[in-house]
């Protein structure tokens, strides 16, 4: 304090000014440090969570222990591939489901390239929220009665976006039947057969009994599988072959 008294007013003013300046600088530094911490935390959280989500979305989802379903292929079943193979790949599918459409080319390629190694079974699982899924299933069964199920199946999937949201899907399917040169009198008779309706509903029920709750659901030798790519399919088939 004595020193202070010896100082001139100007010197006192200067000391105060420097002290204030230092205090302001420390405060500014603290503020900058705080901002740096806040933004680093936010940045890390955002980037980290995006990576986490990518991994989450991409994980080869573990099907977990799944009930072994009956693999018995009924004479009614629509099959393609090697009838003598011990490997049976069953798909529960819905013609109006975009994911089933997305899997369609994979399955087609698998049958083309590895068709000798398994028997492929297609079963109808028309989901209640898809208004045109049942009519599509009936149309494919009517084509099956004339031995052209797979041709119709391909056409319905390939052109899914043309009919999925339309009220006149029935007429569109009829045009596909014409394009496949089906006997149209027989097609028109068959399409409303109770036998076809029952078959589709029986297959749906068999799916429910096997805990199918989404489409497409694949079973390889009775075990639920969740392939995410063509390579996954090939790997699973080869593993089954041992």
């Amino acid at each position: 304090m004595e020193n202070n008294q010896n100082l001139s007013k100007k010197e006192l003013y200067e000391i105060n000014r420097v002290a204030k300046k230092n205090a302001a600088e420390t405060a500014a530094k603290k503020k900058r440090a705080k901002s740096a911490i806040i933004w680093s935390v936010v940045g890390l959280l955002v980037v980290g969570s995006v990576f986490g989500l990518i991994i989450l979305a991409n994980r080869s989802s573990d099907p977990g222990p799944s009930p072994i379903i009956t693999t018995a292929v009924s004479p009614d079943d629509l099959t393609v591939g090697n009838k003598d193979s011990k490997n049976i790949l069953i798909e529960y599918s819905d013609f109006q489901c975009p994911a089933c459409k997305a899997y369609h080319p994979l399955v087609k390629q698998l049958i083309k390239e590895h068709g000798q190694e398994f028997l492929f079974v297609y079963r109808h699982f028309p989901l209640p929220q898809h208004a045109q899924a049942k009519p599509a299933a009936y149309a494919s069964e009517a084509a099956a009665n004339q031995g052209k199920f797979w041709e119709m199946h391909d056409m319905i999937f390939d052109k899914q976006t043309d009919w999925a949201e339309k009220g006149n899907a029935d007429e569109i399917f009829r045009k596909y039947a014409e394009a496949l040169k089906l006997d149209m009198t027989k097609y028109d008779e068959d399409i409303s057969l109770p036998a076809i309706e029952n078959k589709v509903s029986d297959q749906y029920k068999s799916g429910v009994a096997n805990f199918v709750n989404s489409t497409p659901t694949f079973f390889l030798n009775g075990k639920k599988i969740q392939p995410r790519s063509y390579e996954d399919f090939v790997k699973l088939i080869q593993e089954a072959n041992g």
């Binding site: 989500l53 975009p98 989404s214």
Partner: protein, 149 residues
């Protein structure tokens, strides 16, 4: 002021949740092309409908961008108390709310299917809108006390 700080923190958290939700849907869109169709759930129907894309980009991506923007602005305001940032927090959430209201309408009355992720987004954007109300209310309180001192 403390209550305002609290609301801004909630704002940050909700924006982050909205961002997570919309990002997940966006990533799913680009990685899997399609979600599997689950019985009685309509997500795939909603996310593949004609309404799910605007200018060729999935709506979920716009949603993710909106939430990220709100997240950055709310953190920026939390950090700097910047006045224009405060205005954005007060007035922009109404657009998110209106957009969500329109999407819920589309899902219920046009597509006839509800997508869980979209419903979560509707909830977060509505929450942001409600929070923006509180900010407006508290903001004016602060202004008044500021004038008095």
């Amino acid at each position: 002021m403390d209550r305002q700080r609290l609301i801004v923190i909630v704002f940050i958290v909700v924006s982050f949740l909205g961002f997570l939700d919309a990002s997940y849907l966006t990533i799913e869109h680009y990685q899997n092309a399609t979600l599997p169709c689950v019985i009685f759930k309509g997500c795939e129907q909603v996310t593949t409908s004609a309404y799910s894309k605007v200018f060729g980009l999935p709506l979920a991506l716009y949603g993710a961008a909106y939430y990220l923007f709100m997240l950055i602005i709310s953190v920026f305001y939390f950090d700097t108390k910047n006045e224009p940032a405060f205005k954005i927090l007060k007035y922009v959430p109404v657009t998110g709310f209106l957009a969500s209201a329109y999407f819920v309408y589309l899902q219920l009355f046009v597509i006839h299917a509800l997508c869980t992720y979209c419903v979560i987004s509707a909830i977060t954007s509505t929450t942001l809108f409600i929070l923006s109300f509180f900010l407006t209310y508290l903001g004016s309180q602060v202004d008044i006390s500021g004038q008095r001192t």
